[in-house]
């Protein structure tokens, strides 16, 4: 049997990243704490290099390699680029924060880059095993990151919860995948899709497989009723890690939904549509309602994430090309807003002080009108109020569900987004209407303040002219 050498080109960014992770790991060994910035710069350069390579190897038509286990297509390229971008922003935001807490170590960068690698594999997976491989690389690295501050009991608890619940979810997912393999005799998404299309497989086994796969996905996305880990992990992890978990991995989770449900199991649309509707509705309701009761901003944003996941699913529920691109637009926009919101907590935190309660934002407009304005934009964007980009994200997913006739679902979603608006408004109330208690001037590294401002301004500018980003998302969907 002849062994054919696979085409390595489409996977060049992944190969590059893996090599560079090893380089960072080794280089870091020889650095003292004083020179740790070299690790930081090297990690940023790695992301930049991966981005360049991703652009170089992009392909307009889907390119399959490694016996069809790996795919390189337009959606993958765009999602990967946004994963690099948000990771790079996370590195910038968290540098000072980590230094002040004595967490500025090589491990942080190596683990973060490993999770980026896992995300890239997920994004490019065309095989159940590839998806699982990517998912585990991501999850294990994230668990270690959550526990990075090992002396903090709350962090360890969060990591433990994340690990145990993540393992259950992975088990569910694997079980579903094994049934899928049993029913179709293949692990390859393309082949599974054609098996289902021919209708030559047992429907009941497929449905069972689907149930477990959807549960696994819902766990990973943090959708109700599988959301219990989200608030604890968001609150327990160091804010820099929360910032990371809430941005790039969400993009990867969206890719996983697309690869598994749409490309692999697209033939079962009618079945998973109903399941996702239930999950989405519960997420939107529970996320928005429970968030109102939170006083810790990180927990509040965790519940807000849950509701955003529900909205994101609306796009996929539609089962149309428009819906998928709406979902993709939503997840990218969400990552942007999440970076801005958690970045603001980091900006206001300083050595020995976490600005993670709502009270800490009191009178921010007096302390720094500019950053208060940035947070104002972010909050209105999360609430979906124009002229911020969050509005178009909501508009896109709502129009996707209205198009397939689910007007009631759109009405329900918007009613709960009004309820959700309350807790975003409350943040603004603290910033603008209350007097400052803490009058320490806002300090922060120059680069962080610049990127933070750019982040807020982009949310506003995309709100005034979202054309390019929407067109990009539409163009990469089949």
């Amino acid at each position: 049997m002849a062994f054919e050498i696979p085409n390595f080109t489409p996977a060049l960014p992944e190969i590059f990243l893996l090599t560079m992770i090893c380089v960072v790991l080794v280089v870091d060994l020889f650095l003292t704490d004083k020179n740790r910035s070299i690790t930081y710069l090297l990690s940023q350069a790695t992301l930049l290099g991966a981005a360049v390579l991703t652009v170089v190897v992009q392909s307009a038509v889907p390119e399959y390699t490694f016996s069809g286990m790996f795919v390189n297509d337009g959606m993958g390229t765009v999602l990967k680029l946004f994963i690099y971008l948000s990771t790079a922003v996370v590195f910038i935001y968290s540098r000072e924060y980590l230094m002040e807490r004595n967490l500025f170590k090589g491990e942080f960068f190596v683990l973060a880059l490993f999770s980026v690698l896992g995300m890239m594999v997920m994004v490019s997976a065309n095989n159940l095993l590839t998806i699982y491989l990517g998912l585990e690389v991501l999850s294990l690295a994230l668990v270690a990151l959550v526990a990075l501050n090992r002396d903090s009991s709350i962090s360890s608890e969060a990591a433990m919860k994340y690990f145990v619940l993540g393992a259950i979810a992975s088990g569910m997912l694997l079980y579903g995948m094994s049934m899928l393999y049993g029913a179709t005799g293949s692990l390859d998404h393309t082949e599974i899709a054609s098996f289902i299309e021919q209708g030559s497989t047992d429907d009941i086994v497929l449905k069972f497989a689907l149930v477990f796969i959807v549960i696994g996905l819902a766990f990973k996305l943090g959708a109700v009723p599988f959301h219990m880990w989200v608030p604890d992990v968001y609150e327990g992890a160091p804010t820099a890690i929360t910032l990371f978990i809430s941005s790039a991995p969400k993009i990867a989770a969206f890719a996983m939904l697309m690869r598994l449900l749409v490309e692999g199991l697209g033939g079962l649309l009618v079945h998973w549509q109903d399941m996702l509707i239930i999950i989405a509705v519960l997420s939107i309701i529970a996320g928005n309602v429970i968030a109102i009761a939170q006083t810790n901003l990180k927990r509040m944003l965790a519940y807000s994430t849950i509701s955003h996941v529900g909205f994101l699913m609306l796009g996929i529920i539609a089962g149309t090309s428009d819906g998928y691109s709406a979902g993709m637009f939503y997840v990218i926009v969400y990552a942007l807003m999440s970076l801005a919101a958690f970045g603001m907590i980091i900006l206001l935190s300083r050595s020995g002080f976490e600005a993670d309660t709502l009270e800490d934002f009191k009178g921010l407009n007096q302390r720094s009108p500019w950053f208060a304005f940035m947070m104002l934009i972010t909050m209105f964007s999360m609430a979906g109020v124009p002229p911020t980009v969050g509005f178009y994200a909501k508009l896109a997913v709502l129009s996707a569900v209205v198009e397939i006739g689910l007007v009631w679902l759109a009405v329900l979603a918007v009613v709960f987004s009004v309820i959700g608006a309350f807790y975003y408004l409350r943040v603004i109330k603290f910033m603008y209407f209350d007097k400052a208690v803490d009058t320490t001037p806002i300090s922060g590294a120059y680069d962080m303040r610049a990127v933070m401002s750019a982040n807020g301004v982009i949310i506003l500018l995309l709100g005034i002219y979202p054309t390019g980003l929407i067109a990009l998302c539409v163009s990469v969907m089949p």
Partner: protein, 502 residues
């Protein structure tokens, strides 16, 4: 020249410039800068009136550019006889708002001025938008500056009032959003308002769309029973905020009725016009009683606004009954034109009333009627103005308040005697609650030392009230130019509305 874009973006960019300049210059310069921006905007908007072709109902000053092609959303602007006067009213009122905050606003002056300038641009955008998504973006976006204005510079219960204001309006608007998305797919993926006007829609869908629109616009107008946010917002808002709320924001809701509900779902409007008429008459009669017992002057004027807006919605929705009875649209046109004039007139009068209360509040720091008495002894000039605006509010012939109400009542006789009877009661009730307030505040003995120490209007205040008084008088004595501008548009609207779209 893209006149409409200029009128929209000039104040918005001017507002941003004011914000940017605040670091480098004194508050005094900021005030002059804001005044200059608002004055220039008003001047720039004047050609809209003078170059307006009143012989046609077509949209004028049209601008069109692709904005978000993926959703076929366009930057599509244009005005007709209904929206053009409202744009002028907006530009006109903002000047007074800037002037009214001149001495009172001492903290974060730049943010205050910028909020109003940006809001001005957005409100003009709502009136000028011909693409429903552009309309929606402006419609929602203007909540943000208003939310900040009430919350930062408002009274003691400002947080409660502003969150209530925002959530109430936001709640109404989201139904509008879903209805617009639904229409988008019905109209073969177009968000153009004019495309919606010619769309054929089934009765069940029409009813649902009607209700969705109704929630959005009735909250904004506000119609009874959706009005409870308004007194709170008015009482807590700074004077400028109250003026904009009463003069412009309420008109946005009424504008939605003529731009969206009547032309897009005429059959549902016909079917459910009793509902609107009922709500309007309750607003006119019941809210007038509520106004009568208010202790707080701002609250009283707020309730009087609700009653006056009831006239506007009554004027709009009587057309179906009148058309059914007379078979001609001429009688109905009288009611609609009366309602539109009432909108403009109420903009002047309620704005002026809130300014008057604001001027007293600046001196006495109280809005309670019982704290005043005999103000006319110490502030004779002010008292003259206040009495004049109060008379106008009560609908005295010769003032603009009379013209609109008279036309609506006249038209109501064609629909139903009892409509006219109940609506005409407002002439009594309106006079009762307004003049009784005036009597208690202005006349009688000097009530206390504070009143005795009051100083009369300064030059700035006299100029503000003098200009508004002139506007009220001109519109009251010679409304013809305004009616002339509206006539073709209103006729077209009515011809359109009486044709079934099933």
């Amino acid at each position: 020249m893209p006149l409409l874009s200029l009128v929209i973006w000039l104040p918005i960019l001017g507002g941003l410039a004011v914000l940017a300049a605040s670091r480098h210059t004194s508050d005094a310069n900021i005030r002059w800068m804001a005044l200059a921006v608002s004055a220039v905007t008003f001047l720039v908007s004047l050609p809209l009136f003078f170059s307006f072709d009143s012989s046609t109902h077509e949209m004028q000053f049209v601008e069109m550019a692709a904005w978000i092609p993926a959703f076929n959303i366009n930057y599509h602007l244009g005005v007709d006889g209904i929206s053009m006067p409202l744009i002028l009213l907006t530009a006109f009122s903002t000047i007074f708002v800037v002037a009214a905050g001149w001495e009172v606003i001492k903290v974060r002056v730049a943010q205050y001025m910028a909020a109003f300038l940006i809001m001005e641009g957005m409100m003009i955008g709502v009136f000028a938008a011909l693409d429903s998504m552009l309309f929606y973006v402006f419609w929602e976006a203007m909540l943000i500056p208003m939310f900040i204005v009430i919350g930062v510079w408002g009274g003691p219960r400002r947080v409660y009032a502003t969150i209530k204001f925002f959530l109430y309006t936001f709640f109404g608007s989201v139904f509008l959003l879903v209805a617009l998305i639904y229409l988008y797919f019905q109209a073969d993926k177009s968000f153009a308002i004019l495309d919606f006007h010619v769309l054929k829609i089934g009765m069940d869908a029409q009813i649902l769309i009607f209700l969705a629109f109704l929630i959005a616009f009735a909250v904004k107008v506000p119609m009874w029973p959706f009005h409870t946010w308004l007194p709170d917002a008015h009482v807590e808002a700074p004077t400028g905020g109250s003026v904009i709320l009463a003069a412009i924001m309420l008109k946005l809701g009424a504008y939605g009725f003529v731009r969206f509900i009547m032309p897009i779902v005429p059959d549902a409007s016909f079917e459910l016009d009793w509902l609107i008429i009922l709500m309007s008459l309750i607003a006119i009669v019941y809210i007038a009683f509520v106004a009568l017992v208010q202790e707080d002057m701002k609250k009283l004027i707020a309730y009087s606004s609700i009653a006056h807006m009831g006239f506007v919605t009554l004027g709009f929705f009587m057309v179906f009954t009148i058309f059914e009875k007379t078979g001609s649209i001429q009688g109905a046109a009288l009611g609609v034109e009366g309602a539109l004039i009432q909108m403009i007139s109420h903009g002047f009068i309620s704005g002026a009333m809130f300014l008057c209360v604001g001027m007293m509040y600046d001196r006495m720091h109280s809005r309670n009627i019982s704290d005043y008495g005999g103000v006319t002894n110490t502030m004779p000039v002010f008292a003259a103005f206040f009495l004049f605006f109060a008379m106008a509010n009560a609908g005295l012939p010769g003032t603009s308040g009379f013209v609109g109400e008279f036309m609506v009542i006249l038209s109501a006789f064609q629909a139903n005697f009892w409509y006219a009877f109940l609506a005409a009661l407002t002439l009594i009730f309106g006079a009762a609650y307004t003049l009784w307030m005036v009597k208690r505040v202005l006349f009688g003995e000097i009530k206390n030392d504070k009143v005795a120490q009051l100083t009369d209007l300064n030059g700035r205040e006299t100029l503000i009230l003098g200009t508004l008084a002139a506007a009220v008088l001109i519109l009251g004595l010679w409304p013809a130019p305004l009616i002339d501008v509206m006539h073709a548009t209103v006729n077209n609207l009515l011809e359109h509305v009486v044709v079934s779209k099933l």
